[in-house]
């Protein structure tokens, strides 16, 4: 089960963060800082998992962005890695070769995609077209309304 999921860039700035367990806002800041510091400290040679405060952190780096998932201890690490890759591919498909700025300027869309994939802390949908269907539908609706 996911405890949280976030994206940070190389400078350690959070670009997307979703928590699934009511972590208070103050703790989030501390937690993020600590995790990001650890992630940044791990280079390519090192494995992408580590334990922290009773849950497992699983991260993957894509260019300048770190995708970081905090999951409960019993979760299958490899499956989460695959999930992260899946998420990135989904972003890629939607934004057409995604970059940090895409996510910054379309934060709501990015959240929406993430929410379609993780629901209440569980992996919910892994099929890219099914994930993107509601997002695209929304776009069409908005387009129709404006025209």
């Amino acid at each position: 089960m996911f405890k949280f999921f976030f994206l940070v860039n190389k400078q350690g700035q959070t670009r997307l963060a979703q928590y699934y367990d009511n972590t208070p806002a103050e703790e989030r800041v501390v937690l993020e800082a600590e995790i990001v510091r650890k992630c940044l400290g791990r280079n390519e040679d090192k494995c992408s998992f580590f334990e922290m405060k009773g849950f497992n952190i699983i991260f993957r780096r894509y260019a300048a962005l770190y995708f970081i998932a905090g999951v409960t201890a019993e979760e299958n690490e490899l499956a989460i890695l695959e999930f992260i890759h899946n998420l990135v591919e989904t972003f890629d498909k939607y934004f057409d070769s995604v970059c940090e700025l895409d996510i910054m300027f379309n934060l709501d869309k990015a959240y929406m995609i993430l929410d379609e994939m993780i629901l209440d802390g569980e992996i919910f949908e892994t099929n890219r077209s099914r994930v993107l269907a509601p997002v695209k539908q929304l776009e069409r609706d908005m387009f129709n309304k404006t025209t």
Binding site: L16, C47, L81, D115, L119, D120, E122, F124
Partner: protein
Amino acid sequence: MFEKTLSDLVRGIRAHKDNEPEYIGECILEIKKELKTDNMTNKANAVAKLTYLHMMGYDMSWAAFNIIEVMSSNKFVFKRIGYLAASQCFHEGIDVAMLATNLVKKDALSIQTHESSIALSSLSCFLTQDLAMDLANDIMALMISTKPIIRKKSTLAMYCIFMKFPDALRPAFPRLKEKLEDDDPGVQCAAVNVITELARHNPQNYLSMAPLFYNLMTSSTNNWMLIKIIKLFGSLCPMEQRLGKKLLDPLTNLVNTTSAMSLLFECVMTMIKGMPTHGPSMQLCVTKLRLFVEDADQNLKYLGLLALGEIVREHPKLIQPLRDMIIDCLEDRDESIRRRALNLLGGMVSRKNLAEIVNRLRQHLGDCEGTAYRDDIINKIVSICSENGYSNVTNFEWYLTVLVELLRVEGVKDTGPIAKQILDVTVRVPDVRPFSVKQMSVILENTEVLITEMSEALYCVAYICGEYAVYLDDPGKTLMCCYKQPRLNAAPAYVQATLIHNSLKLYVRVLEVAPSGPAGDELRNDSKTFLIENLESSLQSGELEVQERASLVLQIVRYMAKVEGKGGSVLRELKALIEGELNPVAPTAQKKVPIPDGLDLDAWINPPTIEKEPEDMPWDKILFGSDKAYTDTTYTASPDSYQATEEEIMSKKQQRELSLAHNPHYLKAGSSIIGPDVEANSIGTTSTIDLVNKPINLSIPILMDNSTAVPVEKVKKSTKKGKSSRKHKKKQGESSEEEVQPVHRVNVALGEMPEGANLSDGDTKSSIPTNNPHDRLNINLDAPLRDEEMIPVRRHREVGSVVEKPAEVSADHQEERKRKKDKKRHRRDKEADEDKEDKKRDRGERKKETAAEREERKSKRRHHKKEVDGPDLIGIGDGEDVDRNQTEQSKVKQEPTHVSPSKVVDSIQQDDLDFWLAPDASTSPPPDTNGPSIGASLLPSENGTQPIVTLEEDSTHKKKHKHRRDRDKKREKHRPEQVIESPPPVASTTVPLIDPTNDILELGFLNTKKNLQEELVADTNLRILFELKQNHMYNQQVVLHLTFCSKSPSTLTTLEFNIVDSLNVQAVRPPGVGARDAILLPFQLTPGNSQETQITFNVNNVLVPQKLKGTLTYMINSALGSTSEKLDVRISFPVSAFIHTTNFNKNEFMEVLGSGELSEAVTSQLPFIRSTDFNNAVTLISTGIHVSVIERVGTGASLYGVTIGQHHVCLLVKDSLQSGISVSVKSSEQILSQSVATEIAKLV
């Protein structure tokens, strides 16, 4: 008024890198203004910006109300922004979340998919207990929505509801279970997710669902879901041993075939959890994990080592071949991998390889970086050597050398563990002392300057040199070394004190060995003056302890000088001062101190006061009255007027234990710290112990004194194990090493706890409400739903009633619900107890009791409950509540009819679970067999030739028998024909109740009924039932299961089965039994009992039915004497005994048909069957011949099976309306087709 969009904000922040906080401050002011406007666009925009700022770490909780405003907008574009913000910043503490209840409810139930969907998505982020109660029913309703996505989301959302509102679990569970069989795979997956999560914490409640998941597992191809299901089995397996066996086959299959590493890893982990004692599958896991570790991918390497660490506990031998590979991992670039490898190595150590592993670790220590990691390695070396009372160390001189070298490794932060080891070894192994003392004196001489890291080591070194000074070559030199400056002054006080104290021991030794005559006199004088000089300077020390020791030693030395000046000698007295062997103290010794007669530890020393003591007042201070200020107030109250309640006494006791536990000076009786620590404590802090204990002055003789061996003897007497016994170990004659087995008894049992702790521990679970929702979710799900168990429904007030503020309403509700819930919980507890009792009784009476009776009893109980609960429900509230109750009542009427069928199945299923798990059930795979036949190859054979039972053959054998007996009982229940006197059994009464849609359960159940043993032969004394099964592990083998039922009033012994082998069928005899010898059955038959056995046969020709002849001889042992009896037996093997089902799908089936191999067809007509019975006929054939139905179209069905000789057998059953049912059999052999056709004709 419209200031900035979100994009502007993002750009702005990027542009103001230098003064970001100020810029954001401005923006927040702007946002506040925007929020005040009436324009929804502005508000939504402001909220969107706030969400971004929140992500950056700025507080936005002040805008909670505005967020709700935006959420309630009827434009989806805005609503979405609102929900996003809510999911980011709402939490339980936010009051306004309550305002959102109606809104969320409305949105969730909206007919617009996206509205409903977004409400469900963000639920987990702001669900509170009240919200969960209110929404439970609605979300449950959504689970049967027509839209798959809504079904899927609501199913997942139920998990959050359960977490916040555990009472919803039981009412909602039947529906959740239905979702496992939803048409949409996504919904299925969601249900699996939820149940896996629930089962992880309370696996015992979900055991009965194992068959359902087993089917899902064997039929699903979705890896995500498979991982979840396998994970679920991972948590179920430890609960039920037999489940592991059942899973063996499919998991092995997956491990061997899957290409997905994540799935492979999950399978391996579940195998490790589920069948840790099963050698072959562990070997398979190790083989696979080896690939992981050898992979270039660091992630796989890490996980491989992690999983191997689980295996090493059970099977250290399996890992041995990987040792070099693991040691190589110590050189890895990633520290976490290195640590995993290190842990793994620790588990692999044995007496043989200890030296090698330690040497490799030492080498590694030289190359590695990072002090923390170095310390880890050193700790590892120490822990693997000291494990189990040094059981792996054979040569202690070697070990000491290693330790001394470790002391010298540069950059070690903490030498404490090493030093303590040296001390411990020296104390516990007397034979190594001379060697140790020499090494220590060298260290004492050679360390010039004190490095802070060495202080702990110096402490031990000084102690060893002083205590065992007899082994020193030159005590005088060592004595000088004690006062080496500047080392001495730089050392911490306790080290200085130890040095000074031990210098006295050394001095005594010097005097002892000094030769008489002038040379000796000179030596004596030298050391005396040296000591006095140095001690005087130590007197100046700022440390109290150092001062004290120095002055003590100084006075003694001066006194000696004085006496000697007069020509006398006090050497003998002085020696007596330090005489005596110090022994290791048992960790439990303190507890064993006998309480002297007349001492009542529970009696008050100072009568307690009425006044409530301040919470933080340490209990021992109160007790000992050492705190003046406090004792003053104590005596103000009259002592007589106070009666301590039990609770208070308990709480005080706990308090006292707590303070003791935190008191470093108190020797903890139950402490898990063993050996070295206790040793160090008792030596180093003897004085402090006394300081603490003295004021009590209860005149207890302190038996804990190190110099007496009494406690150890006590331990010997009182603990049966007598751990402190000495153990002799000879080592190749060169040095015999005697090891005092350390008293390593760490008592974890409650009985060894100090009194008081015991009592309170037992209560914690039941009396203290826990906050962990999983504890509250520990609910029995198999018991049928009771009428009052349902999710509360929120109702609107009557139209026209006074409008109240929503907050008040919910407060009302809350309180009332709390009351209700408390009652419910109470009731549930009671119910659970009753259930337990019932179960116990059930087990005992299972044989006699029919299902009908049980059902009746259950319903009675239900009625009884209703009566009890009735008044409660009515008595709760006023008008409004009555209204509520009515709706509940009406709901009650619906609910049972809705859930009861599946519930009945449930209870049957629970009974069936044992049966399902029993390996014998395996030959009856569910006829839907798309998956592999359940339990294929799980038949453990008796002859021991098979790999399944290679480990611990003997013990499992016994177990097997026990299992079989259990199974017997169960089978009796399911097999009416077998037990003659039992009334019509469960099967006949319950079958009609089974929901026909619930195919898995139903079919599994039918099978158990159909799969009966037939009578083989009978006489007046004995009845033999038989059943033929295939051995899936080995081709060409059939297993004959025999049940012997005694009808005789006497005991039957020496049952011998003499089987005459034919050319085609031969019995597999136990090793050592010739082909013509009789097989002696390993049991006796007592009157009225039955026994079971099995005989395996090799079959060479599977194309035709086979027959065997044999005789059974046995002795009747009665009071009159014993007589021998003989019984002729004919065993016939129909062709169907050689055929089994496979998990073919339609395509594979078509392939076989199309391959042209199946040239020989035989068609036979079954004119006696009416067309209406077509379905029955198909079922009959499929179960009778052991073939699975591949496809059924209208009036035709194709079935498929394969013989144990790998011949395909295809059947086409057709219903031609005129001529009845025809069956054509196709196979590669004419004779096989013919045999099958003949058997079908007989069958029908």
